[in-house]
């Protein structure tokens, strides 16, 4: 079976004739057949189209022509990003059929590189909120423990990669929606620099915060996908024309000469920090040091203010998009969606502008820190995946404008690239994750550090034992 191969290994095996694209797709379909009902990974599966594309991919390879870097690879797409297979639902009853107009730019680029779309993956409704059993959509469960949430909002992207139902996926990140499910599901996810990847064709949540990025089994796989996805496009005026590096070529395995700032952020989590986190994080930092990096303690500047600015901007921008539908179809939205977006009433237009001014102050302060260090590492979250029993506490915290032990929104406000990579497990056996942040548009160094870490650790190779679990009642 090929379902837990990395994209890199599967691509090499395909090109070496050790496996076919049809076999990769069939294995992915078999995993989804067996586990999708329990885990809630897909909203729509396109098996027939995927198998047909795989046959075409195998024929092209047999013919001996040039093939793209993702040739024949089965990927999944979060269902707020449009594809030619049909309407994107954003996992909502408040369906806007406008989001059905062919492939988004990133999907177009993936397909041009040879990728095969296996289907549309579950999300939190409109990329915000939490699961809602009262609505007719799958509950996204965590493959490591089905009583826990997969994280969100790119829930199916996280769980499907962890389960092996796809070899890679697209996620989006506005307050942490790539990095949270990557962390909770024990996979690797990259939020690229704001403006690095076109987001046209993606249902908006926060116009000045949204990012599209890869979610995979390894940093090397993220590098492989980013190389295909990155670069400006006229359809998205927020993209910035900065040269796209050879991300895979930059993976040297060596961190000599890099200075890495470390902030454990325990002061934010308080009692919510998992007992295993300090030791796990210290061990991860020690690995980075052994790889040649110089470690220095830092404190992220304006942490609380940047997290608050994220919330003010996100709900204000989301409310601008959703207000007419919230007025006419309040109860059709998931409760957590309408309540979170509804928090937009708290903030005035002046507050929104002030958040954007505060953002600039935070960016400048962080840039000063990056004058002294090349990278900054923190945990992605102070704790493992939230259990469904604890979701109301989580929800209440969000209703008060807080993110608790989730350390992601800071970076959406500043726009820097951040990789989340597995670094160990909680006392209860749930994945813990390391965030590696870099200077704007320096994904190369971020990915280099993530890859080097994964060359000397095997946390990213751990897979959940799904075969042993039953479908919850």
């Amino acid at each position: 079976m090929t379902e837990h191969m990395t994209l890199t290994d599967a691509s090499a095996a395909l090109k070496a004739g050790e496996v076919t694209s049809v076999q990769l797709v069939q294995d992915a379909i078999a995993v989804a057949d067996e586990h999708d009902a329990a885990v809630g990974m897909f909203l729509n599966r396109t098996n027939d189209q995927a198998l047909a594309a795989a046959e075409t991919a195998d024929a092209a390879l047999a013919a001996g022509g040039e093939v793209g870097p993702l040739h024949g690879m089965p990927l999944g797409i979060k269902d707020i990003i449009t594809t030619q297979e049909g309407v994107s639902t954003a996992q909502s009853l408040v369906l806007d059929p406008a989001w059905s107009d062919g492939d988004a730019v990133v999907v177009e680029r993936l397909r041009a590189a040879g990728a095969i779309v296996m289907g549309k993956l579950t999300t939190m409704e409109y990329a915000i909120g939490m699961p809602d059993a009262s609505k007719p959509f799958p509950i996204p469960r965590n493959p490591w423990n089905l009583d826990h949430w997969a994280g969100g909002s790119s829930s199916g992207s996280g769980s499907s990669v962890a389960a092996g139902a796809v070899l890679g996926a697209l996620g989006t990140d506005t307050g942490g929606s790539i990095r949270i499910p990557a962390a909770f599901c024990g996979i690797t996810g990259l939020m690229p620099t704001f403006g690095r990847v076109p987001k046209s064709g993606c249902v908006p949540l926060g116009y000045t915060l949204d990012h599209i990025g890869p979610m995979t089994r390894s940093a090397r796989d993220c590098a492989l996908m980013l190389g295909v996805m990155a670069g400006p496009h006229p359809s998205d005026p927020t993209t910035i024309d900065v040269p796209v590096d050879d991300y895979v070529g930059g993976l040297t395995g060596d961190l000599t000469g890099l200075r890495i700032g470390v902030d454990q952020l325990s002061r934010i989590a308080g009692d919510a920090e998992d007992p295993a986190l300090p030791g796990t994080f210290a061990a991860a930092v020690a690995e980075l040091e052994k790889l040649g990096a110089e470690i220095v303690e830092i404190e992220l500047p304006f942490y609380a203010e940047m997290s608050t600015a994220c919330m003010v901007m996100m709900v204000s921008e989301a409310m601008a998009y959703h207000l007419p539908d919230l007025q006419s179809r309040w109860s059709d939205y998931f409760e957590a969606t309408r309540m979170t977006v509804g928090m937009g009433i708290y903030y005035s237009a002046a507050d929104y502008v002030q958040a954007q001014r505060a953002r600039r102050v935070g960016q400048l302060a962080l840039a000063k820190v990056f004058e002294d260090v090349d990278l900054i590492v923190t945990p992605t979250s102070g704790a493992g995946a939230t259990s469904f029993d604890q979701m109301s506490t989580f929800s209440d915290r969000m209703a008060e404008g807080g993110f608790g032990p989730i350390y992601t929104p800071y970076w959406d406000t500043t726009g820097n690239p951040v990789l989340s990579a597995p670094m160990g497990f909680t006392q209860d056996g749930l994945p813990l994750s390391l965030q590696i942040a870099g200077r704007p548009f320096d994904e190369t160094t971020v990915l280099r550090a993530g890859d080097a870490f994964q060359r000397v650790t095997d946390w990213h190779e751990q897979v959940p034992s799904l075969a042993a679990v039953a479908v919850p009642a």
């Binding site: 608050t308 003010v312 309540m339 509804g342 928090m343 009433i345 954007q356 001014r357 209703a399 008060e400």
Partner: protein, 62 residues
């Protein structure tokens, strides 16, 4: 002049925006109002923010 309480403010803001949550949801929004406002107020007192411009750009070309 009396200061309106949080419930009055939230109910007014909901009405102004044409939103009609359930009574339980209104209670939650009322509970979240004060901490959210307190957090937003900190954005006005950050060192260095007084003369900063917003992180929004505008290109007059279309």
């Amino acid at each position: 002049m009396s200061t309106p309480d949080d419930r009055t403010i939230v109910e007014s803001l909901l009405a102004m925006n044409g939103l009609t949550p359930t009574p339980a949801e209104v209670d939650k929004l009322v509970a979240g109002y004060a901490p959210s406002r307190a957090a937003a107020e900190t954005l006005y007192t950050m060192p260095g923010v007084r003369y900063e411009v917003p992180a929004i750009t505008f290109d007059p070309r279309v």
